[in-house]
Amino acid sequence: MHEVSAEPADGRPDAVDWKAIEDSPEFRQLVASRTRFVTAALGVGVAATVLFVLLGSIAPGVMGASVVGEITLGFVYGVLLIFMTWAITLLYLRKSDREWSPLERRAIEAATAHAAGDGRARDREPVR
């Protein structure tokens, strides 16, 4: 169990010690894991889309390349980006349910056990 600081971080005597929760291993693991996914997913998604916009504006030769018959690369690329958005969203939902939600619960449990033992935050913060 992590340490209780004498003064709550925001100076209100009856407040939850947010800093202590923030420093707890459960919370750190949650944020680190989710940040890794978000950074990667956002990086890939935005980069692929910006490239799409750039090529669409400056490289008609590339976007006009034929993929199947009269269907050009531009339209195929765009539809693939729509599929990509679906895939990233589903992946995020799956990881949320399997990895991050349990971590959220553990972080909250650790925090409330901590606060109850501390006798400060029992009634103030409703917990799911």
């Binding site: 971080a9 925001d10 407040a15 939850v16 947010w18 800093k19 929760i21 923030e22 919370f27 949650l30 944020v31 978000v38 997913a41 956002l42 998604g45 935005v46 889309t49 910006v50 799409f52 916009v53 750039l54 090529l55 669409g56 504006s57 400056i58 490289a59 008609p60 030769g61 976007m63 006009g64 199947v68 018959g69 009269e70 269907i71 050009t72 531009g74 339209f75 765009g78 539809v79 980006l81 729509i82 990509m84 958005t85 679906w86 990233i88 969203t89 589903l90 995020y92 939902l93 949320s96 349910d97 939600s101 959220e104 972080a107 909250i108 925090a111 913060e125 409703p126 917990v127 799911r128």
Partner: protein
């Protein structure tokens, strides 16, 4: 295509009236269930993920998606599709950065999150300013769309059409609050998807269900030939195409009426799943719009360019042609139905915009700034209703005075640009940068709002007339400049001010946003009982 603007079209009026009747019944039903502030703003937090997904889709797929983008694809081929794709990928930042964190840390409005740990009064004033600016520009864009559409299809004068739209929008919001608005969105999303599927199937049927044939015919009917499928037509200057795409990619995450939807669900899990349903619906619809836009080109050819009013009427004209052509029973009926769907689309979007803007006035400005949180929630709802009426009158006035002649998606693009530069940087920094402070928020929102507005007024889309030559600023959409500027202003304001003390700590916001600890509950009375 002689039906257009040739006197009052009775069939279209009957279908419009049927749509309005359904929405009014929903509003009456919702009004019985909307008393408290939580019910008014957040539908009692009793909307499920699936329902909210439909409602987000309903809020998002505006007249710009259905009419504007179909028209842009009809005119410019690939360029129109680029904007659509950006508008869908835009949900990734919403999902990955904002949806759950907003739900966890906020109450009714975007300002709740922005001002969480800043000085309440100034932070809420600027947040309300950002919300209202975006909502207002977007509102005018939609009202113009409604006016043009109803005038062309039902034969009612532009000004009267705008007034009618504004009146119904206010009725939904005042009497039914967020619950009525949500269900109007859900119904509209269902209607829009159905219309999209029917149009797409008919277009594909015309080209013997062979997409290659559709692309071939579309290119053959375009004066640009193969260039129609290669891009670079809409914006001869590449920089304009890039800025336009960027506005749609980043603006969504700053749209107050979309972000507000995440307060209507019971928890973060429902917030996530509503994004999934929304992107599924919107993405499918955009693929259909791509085919409809190409179909309009392939089937109507260049002949309809004149009649399509800047492209906005390409989809309804296509429906008329697919139904059997002008003057036939099938053609008239299909035109009327598609027009009614477009009309319902606009009504739902403007209702969502008005409820978010009235939230900015009543919840953020009135309750938290003027009254210091001292008064009852009842008063907040009363103020919201007054604000909704005033906003509607202003939007109606501006739309009638200077709206006609603008392409709806160009106007919507401007609203997205303001959302991307005034709202998004401040919101992201409030959530993710511990040092961010009140001065930074004020500089960011006000600074980029002013720069955006100046650049918009001096842009070719507005100055000296709609879509004209000779404006001082060549950039059609300012997002490329104003989005980075938004971050710069936020950063400058923060590092140049000495402010250190904040009302609540970043630690609190961080923990609550990430875990949902202490999130606003779903209230005592379940809405769907």
């Amino acid at each position: 295509m002689t039906v257009l603007a040739a006197g009052v079209n009775t069939l279209a009026l009957v279908v419009f009236a049927a749509v309005l009747t359904v929405t009014l019944v929903v509003t009456y039903w919702a009004s019985k269930r909307t008393r408290t502030a939580t019910e008014f703003w957040a539908a009692g937090r009793g909307i499920s993920g699936l329902q909210n997904g439909f409602a987000v889709a309903g809020d998002y797929m505006s007249a710009a998606s259905f009419l504007g983008f179909a028209g842009l694809i009809y005119f410019f081929g690939l360029d129109g599709f680029v904007g659509l794709v950006c508008a869908l990928v835009a949900f990734l930042p919403v999902l990955l950065l904002l949806a759950e964190r907003m739900r966890n840390a906020g109450k009714f409005t975007m300002a709740d999150v922005l001002s969480f740990r800043l000085r309440q009064r100034p932070a809420r004033v600027v947040a309300a300013l950002g919300t209202m600016s975006v909502a207002f520009v977007y509102l005018v864009a939609q009202m113009v769309g409604a006016g043009v559409l109803i005038q062309a299809l039902a034969g009612i004068d532009f000004a009267i059409s705008v007034v009618l739209t504004g009146t119904f929008m206010v009725v939904y919001v005042i009497f039914g609050g967020m619950l009525a608005t949500t269900w109007v969105q859900i119904i509209k999303a269902g209607m829009l998807m159905t219309a999209g599927v029917v149009l797409t199937v008919l277009v594909l049927a015309k080209t013997s269900f062979n997409p290659m044939e559709l692309f071939k015919q579309a290119a053959a009917e375009s004066s640009d030939g193969k260039g129609y499928l290669s891009g670079g037509l809409q914006h001869p200057d590449a920089i304009n195409g890039i800025s336009f795409g960027l506005a749609f990619l980043l603006g969504t995450a700053g749209l107050p009426h979309i972000l507000m939807r995440f307060f209507t669900v019971p928890d973060a899990r429902a917030a996530r799943s509503s994004v999934w349903w929304a992107v599924l619906l919107i993405g499918s619809f955009y693929i259909m719009i791509m085919l409809v836009g190409l179909g309009a080109r392939a089937i109507l050819g260049a002949d309809a360019e004149e009649a399509s009013a800047g492209g906005n009427l390409a989809a309804p004209l296509l429906a008329e042609e697919l139904g059997g052509g002008a003057g036939t029973v099938g053609g008239d009926l299909f035109l009327a139905v598609i027009s009614a769907v477009a009309f319902a689309t606009i009504l739902a979007v403007v209702a969502g915009l008005v409820i978010s803007a009235s939230g900015g006035v009543a919840h953020d400005l009135w309750s938290n700034v003027v009254r210091h949180n001292r008064d009852s929630e009842h008063e907040e709802v009363v103020v919201a209703k007054i604000a909704a009426i005033v906003l509607a009158i202003l939007a109606i006035g501006v739309s009638i005075l200077c709206g006609e002649g603008f392409n709806v998606s160009i106007l919507v693009g401007l609203a997205f640009a303001i959302a991307a530069s005034a709202n998004l940087p401040a919101l992201l920094l409030a959530l993710f940068w511990p040092r961010f402070n009140t001065v930074g928020a004020i500089c960011g929102v006000v600074g980029s709002l002013i720069v955006s507005l100046v650049m918009i007024v001096l842009s070719p889309a507005v100055w000296p007339g709609p879509d004209s030559q000779g404006s001082p600023i060549p950039l059609e959409n300012p997002a490329l400049v104003t989005f980075p500027l938004g971050f710069l202003f936020c950063w400058l304001g923060t590092v140049l001010s000495r402010e250190r003390t904040t009302e609540r700590s970043y630690h609190e916001l961080h923990v609550r946003a990430e875990t949902g600890l202490g999130a606003e509950g779903s209230g005592e009375q379940p809405v769907f009982s």
